[in-house]
């Protein structure tokens, strides 16, 4: 499975029509240790670039955007008790939400790992 990236520092990994979304290691470092993570309710329709979740450090709240259009289909409930999981493993165990994407081809317009690294 290929992972794609956004300029706003999300990653998305597609498995059929369902995608897993989180934030990049770079974003996690910039935000510092997280104290709270919350996604919008399952079933919420989102367009590409809509706020789909929020992550909070001691000091600030930051929106996490849907990389492509779709419907939210799950939240990493482990993060409710253990928000630091995002910082410890941002692109693995620290994933934030899942979504059914409207058009799987949309992800190909996002950044590749190579392109994201060169930002």
């Amino acid at each position: 499975m290929t992972t794609y990236y956004t300029k706003s520092h999300e990653w998305i990994r597609l498995d059929g029509e369902e995608a897993t979304v989180g934030i990049t290691a770079h974003a996690s470092e910039e935000l510092g240790e997280l104290v709270f993570v919350e996604a919008k309710d399952e079933g919420t329709d989102v367009a590409a670039g809509d706020a789909a979740a929020v992550v909070e450090s001691v000091k600030a709240a930051s929106d996490i955007y849907a990389p492509v259009a779709g419907v939210l289909s799950g939240f990493n409930t482990k993060l409710s008790d253990e928000p630091t999981l995002v910082g410890n493993d941002p692109e693995g165990e620290g994933w934030i939400f899942k979504m059914k994407v409207s058009n799987p081809d949309d992800v190909t317009s996002l950044l590749t790992a190579e392109q994201y690294k060169s930002l």
Partner: protein, 377 residues
């Protein structure tokens, strides 16, 4: 970072320490060091942290008569605190008020024996100095010392950390101020701070700042701490941030700061009133106010932050206040906040609701500070 930002005397050291620098009050300031905000906050509460707060303004006020009491009396024409009654070597909190009893700035004033030593907020220092000069210059010599460095050493091990460098610091009590030497450098040393912990604030000449900072950082208990943790520490301690929790639209009584107006300046006191807006403050102290600053704790883990509206009901129909500071408290391990609520809702443990991303989350009015103070009385 634009060229117009000023730098503190510890700028080079901050960069060397790996600080993430941000613009704050016209200065390039360290937001955090490599340890990060959370670790810095917890380190300050468990051991000791060193803060560069050189952006703050230091002002000396000497009476032309030569009697420091005359300078204190003159300053009382701008501030509702009892400074004429402040003993030599002691420091006291206060605030400058305007004609509508709004707060122009909050500050610390120390009686140094020969003159007064004043520390004001960075964002207000030009305005404060101009105001003090305009009001006091006939009776006093007002000297801006904005080029001096200021550091804060804060935490339960602050005394242990400073003792080898400055033995005189050990015998000081909370709010004592002395002129002494630290590592051979002349410093103005107070036993006070902005974290709720025991600790010191250290003023010195810019050229000596690095010597002092390096000597303190070489102590095993001490880590450099940025402005990010300074904010979460002061919030847990229930201390106001000027510009957020108090400003020209809030009066001392609304801000629950009546404790900083000593008996001599209150109704019936020997020097009652006599500062800008005094009639309003005296009336509010007598008759009460329609809103009060209170501490707030939210249920759950989601921080309720500055700007969040407060409601009496879970449906958001009856708005009764506003959050002015809020964050996740790393020591409390829960969201902590302060804000203004209608007086009917200001009692401890009153259940309220804060608007958070379109939802209404339960919060309770709670006594401040949120952490037990560590002052050495």
């Amino acid at each position: 970072m634009t060229d117009s930002l000023q730098r503190t005397p510890l700028h080079a050291l901050n960069l060397e320490l790996g600080a993430k620098m941000v613009p704050f009050a016209g200065y390039e300031m360290p937001l955090q060091y490599p340890a990060g905000l959370m670790a810095e906050h917890l380190h300050t509460r468990s051991q000791t942290g060193l803060f560069d707060v050189s952006h703050m303004g230091q002002i000396r006020i000497a009476a032309r008569s030569g009697d420091v009491r005359d300078a204190a009396l003159a300053l009382e024409s701008l501030i509702p605190a009892d400074y004429a009654g402040l003993a030599k070597g002691r420091q006291r909190y206060g605030f400058l008020t305007n004609d509508t009893a709004g707060i122009l700035d909050d500050l610390m004033v120390a009686n140094m024996g020969d003159d007064l030593f004043v520390v004001v907020n960075a964002s207000c220092k030009e305005q404060d100095a101009a105001l003090i000069e305009a009001a006091l210059s006939d009776r006093c010599v007002v000297t801006r010392q904005f080029d001096r460095a200021l550091m804060a050493l804060q935490g339960p091990q602050a005394q242990e950390a400073i003792a080898p460098l400055c033995p005189a610091a050990v015998d000081m009590r909370f709010m004592d101020v002395i002129e002494t030497k630290l590592s051979g450098v002349p410093v103005t040393l107070s036993r006070s701070g902005y974290t709720g912990e025991d600790g010191y604030e250290i003023g010195c000449a810019a050229a000596d700042a690095e010597t002092v900072a390096r000597a303190l950082l070489a102590q095993p208990q001490v880590l450099p701490i940025g402005l990010g943790a300074r904010d979460s520490l002061r919030l847990e301690a229930g201390l106001c941030l000027y510009g957020n929790d108090i400003d020209t639209t809030t009066t001392p009584i609304e801000a629950s700061l009546a404790w900083a107006i000593q008996k001599a300046r209150r109704e019936g006191g020997s020097r009652e009133g006599g500062y800008p807006g005094a009639e309003i403050v005296l009336r509010q102290a007598r008759e009460g106010v329609s809103r009060k600053r209170v501490g707030l704790m939210a249920e759950g883990r989601a921080p309720v932050r500055a700007g969040a509206k407060l409601f009496a009901d879970a449906d958001g129909q009856k708005e009764i206040g506003l959050v002015t500071s809020g964050a996740f408290g790393p020591t409390v391990q829960a969201p902590v906040a302060m804000g203004y609520v209608a007086t009917d809702y200001a009692g401890n443990d009153t259940a309220l609701f804060a608007e958070l991303r379109g939802k209404f989350v339960p919060v309770h009015v709670r006594a401040m500070p949120f952490v037990a103070p560590g002052f050495k009385r």
